[in-house]
Every structure is written in structure tokens, then in C-alpha cells.
């Protein structure tokens, strides 16, 4: 049985739906990440799951109980969860008192409260700040106090809304370290919203992609990043090459796709005549100055249209009748002497192409 389940929940503000028909099952002990662009409805969904808001439609179940509207049941259920808001607010009191709030509101004994606060602050790496006024802390420290405060109630479910957004890389890494520790140590069910795909990939066991108030795909990080089911998901998870075409031939699982006169070979079950998108991740494309005797079925000759650095990598756009984007390391770009207008061969395997049906 799922620990949290939503059945067709929706939420609207000012008469407009922000979330539509969301069906989710969060299992006990799992780490579930909601990823999606800013404004997709991630925070609203977390607020509904944490029972901070009542949905405009649908039902929320917690541990088998319908907690959609009953005030007393909602408080009971909420006391088994905690939520770290995107911009956490700390109360104008000491770090100790901030972290002790949750257990105090549950009328825990003083000795239990002291023990829980100490443990939570240690976990969050904030033990030395115990007597500081929480309002005097930096953004990263405030975030860690908020995490400690959420952990002090020993929640069955921990909700995290963009836990590292607006933090510098060092503070973000510290928070992620704390989270990884909690995930590995506590057996707490964690539901986190993030627009940082790699963070979702690193921390979560399952990912749900949410866009425009709808959950478009749920699956393992591998599924989401390698085999997105919709064009919007593919675009969001960084599949730069989305080519529209029609299947014109098939030989068992190997299909031939006509992309504006260019032919791509891929593995797919779709029949001849099906209009499809061919998705190719840029890191699956190799560039070479000469045509190699490679086993890869797809090789296109073209000229480099643009080159631009992306962190430690270089993104290369090759014009070969259509645009293909590839990423190579800076070192490779130098070794291959990649420059704009240089003639190159872009190669990728048939298995690197993920085919999805095109919806009009």
C-alpha cells in the first residue's frame, strides 16, 4: 500500500487550474523527486501532499486514510510529516527553540525534546549554532536549521521544496550531503521538488516530471532521462536533438525514419507510416573529421554551425540537412580542432535513438 496516494487531485487559484488530475503513489521509504520548470506546479503539489492546502478536486490518502477534508485527520496526518519550504522562515528565537518547536507542539517530554534537537542539529551539521538567534544565520545555515527542524519531529515523510535553490555551490553541496545522509540513514520517505535535474537524478529513486500543472511521466531516473515519453519531457531533461519524421521502412525492430529527406535508423515497435519524434541525447553523438568504419548505423556529414562552452564541456551544433547537437569535452574539441565551418562527421547508434509517437 502506498504511504501517500492522490486520486485526480487538482488545485485552482483565482478560478484558474494550477494542477490538473494528478495521480501519484508515494511508497514508504522511497525518495521521490518532482522535477519541472519554474511555475509548473511543483510547490502547489507539495503543499497539497503535506496537507497545507485542501485540493479543489480529487482526494488525498495518507497511510490508507482519506485526509482530503477532515480537519482533525489532516492534523493527525500532518504531524507525521514535515516540510522544508523553498525559502524557509525561521522564528525570531534561538536555533534550539526553532528546532524544538515541532516536538513541543506534539507535547513531547523535555528530555526527548533535548535529545531530538541535538541529534537533528548534529545531522544537519549545525550543532555549534545551537544558541545563536536563527535570524542572524546565512541562507545556507538557515536552510540547514530548517532541515534540522523538520527532522526533529522524526517525520515519516519529509517534503523538500527546492532545497538548494538560491544557494551558492558550497552551501548547496553541504545541503545535498545532509540530504544524502538522511536518505541513507533514516529510512524516511522523501518527496522533493527541484528544477535541478541532476540533483533529482542523484538523490531520487523515482522521478515525476510535472509541467503546466500535469504530471507527464513517472519513472526511474534512467527511464526519464533516456526514454522520455513526451516531447516536452525530452526537451526538459536535456534531449537537444528532437527530430520529426515518418517511419518509412522496418526490418524486425530496426526502423528507417525519413527526417526531411535524411534517413535515420533506430530501434522501435512503431509501424510504417507512423509520424514520430526521434530523440537523441547530445552525449550519444560522436564527432570525427573523417568517416570512421564504425558499427554505428547513423553517420551524417555536415559543417559546424556553432560552438559554445557549457561548463567543462563544449556544445557543438552541426548543420547536416538538419541541426544536430553534440557535446564533447574541451580536450576533445581541441584534439579534433573543432572550429566553426569545419567539416565533420556526426555518428550515433540506432540504439541511441529513442522514438516517441508524434501527437498533433
Amino acid at each position: 500500500m502506498a504511504l501517500i496516494e492522490t486520486v485526480n487531485i487538482g488545485q485552482k487559484y483565482g478560478g484558474q487550474y494550477i494542477l490538473k488530475d494528478v495521480n501519484l503513489r508515494i511508497n514508504r521509504g522511497e525518495v521521490f523527486a518532482l522535477i519541472g520548470p519554474t511555475g509548473a506546479g511543483k510547490t502547489t503539489l507539495l503543499r497539497l501532499l503535506d496537507l497545507l492546502e485542501v485540493p479543489a478536486s480529487g482526494s488525498v490518502y495518507f497511510d490508507g486514510m482519506d485526509v482530503t477534508a477532515n480537519k482533525s485527520l489532516r492534523l493527525q496526518a500532518r504531524r507525521r510529516m514535515s516540510f522544508v519550504l523553498q525559502k524557509p522562515a525561521v522564528f525570531n528565537m534561538s536555533v534550539y527553540d526553532n528546532v524544538a518547536c515541532g516536538p513541543r507542539w506534539r507535547r513531547e517530554k523535555d528530555a526527548t525534546i533535548r535529545q531530538r534537537v541535538s541529534r537533528a542539529l548534529e545531522l544537519a551539521g549545525m550543532a555549534e549554532y545551537i544558541n545563536r538567534n536563527a535570524r542572524t544565520l546565512s541562507g545556507g545555515e538557515t536552510q540547514r536549521v530548517a532541515i534540522a527542524r523538520a527532522l526533529a519531529i522524526a517525520p515519516e515523510v519529509l517534503f523538500l521544496d527546492e532545497p538548494t535553490a538560491n544557494l551558492d555551490p558550497i552551501s548547496a553541496a553541504k545541503i545535498e550531503e545532509v540530504l544524502a545522509h538522511i536518505i541513507g540513514d533514516q529510512k524516511t520517505t522523501v518527496v522533493m521538488a527541484t528544477h535541478n535535474m541532476s540533483q533529482g537524478q542523484r538523490l531520487a529513486g523515482r522521478i515525476g516530471v510535472i509541467m503546466n500543472g500535469e504530471v507527464l511521466q513517472i519513472g526511474s531516473p534512467g527511464d526519464i532521462f533516456s526514454t522520455p515519453q513526451k516531447k516536452e519531457v525530452a526537451e526538459f531533461v536535456g534531449v537537444d536533438n528532437i527530430l520529426s519524421g515518418v517511419i518509412v521502412n522496418r526490418d524486425n525492430e530496426l526502423v528507417t525514419i525519413d527526417v526531411n529527406g535524411s534517413i535515420i535508423q533506430a530501434i522501435s515497435d512503431y509501424p510504417i507510416g507512423e509520424e514520430v519524434h526521434a530523440l537523441i541525447r547530445p552525449e550519444d553523438i560522436t564527432l570525427a573529421p573523417r568517416k570512421d568504419a564504425s558499427s554505428a548505423r547513423n553517420t551524417f556529414e555536415g559543417r559546424i554551425a556553432r560552438i559554445f562552452p557549457v561548463g567543462a564541456l563544449v556544445r557543438v551544433e552541426v548543420a547536416c540537412g538538419f541541426s544536430l547537437f553534440a557535446v564533447v569535452t574541451k580536450r576533445s574539441a581541441e584534439d579534433l580542432s573543432l572550429t566553426v565551418n569545419k567539416r565533420v562527421y556526426a555518428t550515433f547508434k540506432a540504439t541511441a535513438v529513442h522514438i516517441i509517437k508524434r501527437w498533433h
Binding site: D50, L52, L75, R78, R79, M81, S82, F83, L85, K87, P88, A89, F91, N92, C101, G102, W105, R106, A146, R149, A150, I153, F159
Partner: protein, 228 residues
């Protein structure tokens, strides 16, 4: 001018020598105003939290009405309380007219809009994520209201002090419903009014100085509170 100067010197002597009449009147004023302020605070703090944390039709209008009543004339409240508690009034049977009790009731009516309006305003100034954080940490409605009030404590306290200041400085209400009875309902302001009309400036000036000192202390406390 000499008369005024002599009056001022005598007034200071009355204060320094802790003149029993001056001390008794000042003590009664403080007691009545402190009681009315405490009662009004006990009503207005929870009521303000309820108004702030609930959505209901006409909320904005209610807040506007409360704010309008900040400048409620003391004689209007005096008249209302007089009509209510006089022998012929609807609750005249309580027989509390011209007693400190009815003065306290009148002052509660007078200062409640100030305390209520400023409490709601103080709570509105608290970041909404404070309440969300409390709820998400498992606080009940009451616990959420308490932590929100705690966060707004300096602004709320300023509202309470303003209410006390209005209570201790009003004169019309106390005269009308208290009757200015010596040794029973006579307060600083009613004594100043009476003694000035009699031309007996020494006592009036002494009490006036005490009232100004109280106002000064209130102002200093208010400034300290608002700086936090």
C-alpha cells in the same frame, strides 16, 4: 506669570513630598487604565488573531470600521455607556454607574478598536511563511496563532501601549460615567479639569506633570519596542 511659577513650584513640592492626595489620584488612574488595558488586550489579542487568520466576507469592511473607531470621541463612548448603565438604562439594574467598574468598561470600549486594529495590522506584517512553517511542523490552529503573535510581538506590544496611553489620558468618559467623586472615581484627568475650572492650579499642575511623565515613559517604551 508669578502665579503660574508659584503654582509650578508648589506642584513639584506636592510630587516630591509624595502628597497623599496626589499619589492616591495618580494610583487610581493607573489602576483603572491598567485594568481596562489588560481586559481589552485579553479580548483583542485572540480576536485579532481570529480575524487575521480567517477569510470571511466583509473582512476588509470590518477592519475599516475598526480603524475608523480609533478616533472614537470619548464623550460619545461616555454617552453610550451612560445610557446603558444609568438607572433608566437597559442594564441599569447592575447599579455600577459612577463607580470605577463602569469607568473600566467605558475605557475597554474606547481602546479596544485601537488594540484590535493594531493587532490585526501587526499580524498582517508577519511573513505568511511563518504560519505555513508552523502548520507544516504540526502546529494546531491555536499554536499557529500563538507563534504568529510571538513573531509580531513588538508591533503588538506597541498597539497595547497605544491603547493604555489613550485610556489614561482620556477625560470626557471618566467625567461622564465616573462622576469625579473624590476618593472614589477621581482620576488625574478629571481632577485637572475640576481644579483648573476652580482656579486651583497647584494640584492640577502637579497631576499634569505626572501625566506628562507617564506619557513620556510610554513614549520611551514605545520607541524602544519599535526599534527592536
Amino acid at each position: 506669570m508669578t502665579e503660574l511659577w508659584d503654582g509650578l513650584v508648589t506642584a513639584l513640592k506636592l510630587i516630591v513630598s509624595l502628597n497623599p492626595e496626589v499619589m492616591e489620584i495618580a494610583g487610581r488612574s493607573l489602576a483603572i487604565s491598567a485594568t481596562s488595558s489588560t481586559i481589552a488586550a485579553l479580548i483583542c489579542l485572540p480576536l485579532g488573531a481570529v480575524i487575521h487568520s480567517n477569510k470571511f466576507p466583509g473582512k476588509r469592511t470590518l477592519i475599516n470600521i475598526v480603524q475608523t473607531l480609533f478616533s472614537l470621541p470619548t464623550v460619545a463612548v461616555g454617552l453610550f455607556v451612560f445610557v446603558l448603565f444609568s438607572r433608566a438604562g437597559p442594564i441599569g439594574g447592575l447599579d455600577i454607574m459612577f463607580t470605577p467598574v463602569v469607568m473600566v468598561i467605558g475605557q475597554v470600549i474606547l481602546i479596544s478598536p485601537i488594540m484590535l486594529g493594531l493587532t490585526v495590522s501587526a499580524l498582517s506584517g508577519v511573513d505568511k511563511t511563518i504560519a505555513d512553517t508552523a502548520i507544516s511542523l504540526g502546529a494546531s490552529g491555536f499554536q499557529t496563532a500563538v507563534i504568529t503573535l510571538r513573531e509580531a510581538r513588538f508591533a503588538v506590544l506597541a498597539g497595547l501601549i497605544m491603547g493604555f496611553g489613550r485610556a489614561i489620558s482620556e477625560v470626557g468618559l471618566s467625567l461622564m460615567v465616573g462622576g469625579n467623586i473624590a476618593g472614589f472615581t477621581r482620576t488625574i484627568t478629571t481632577t485637572i479639569s475640576l481644579e483648573t475650572s476652580k482656579g486651583d492650579l497647584e494640584l492640577a499642575l502637579a497631576l499634569g506633570i505626572i501625566l506628562i511623565v507617564i506619557a513620556l515613559v510610554i513614549n520611551l517604551v514605545l520607541n524602544r519596542v519599535q526599534q527592536k
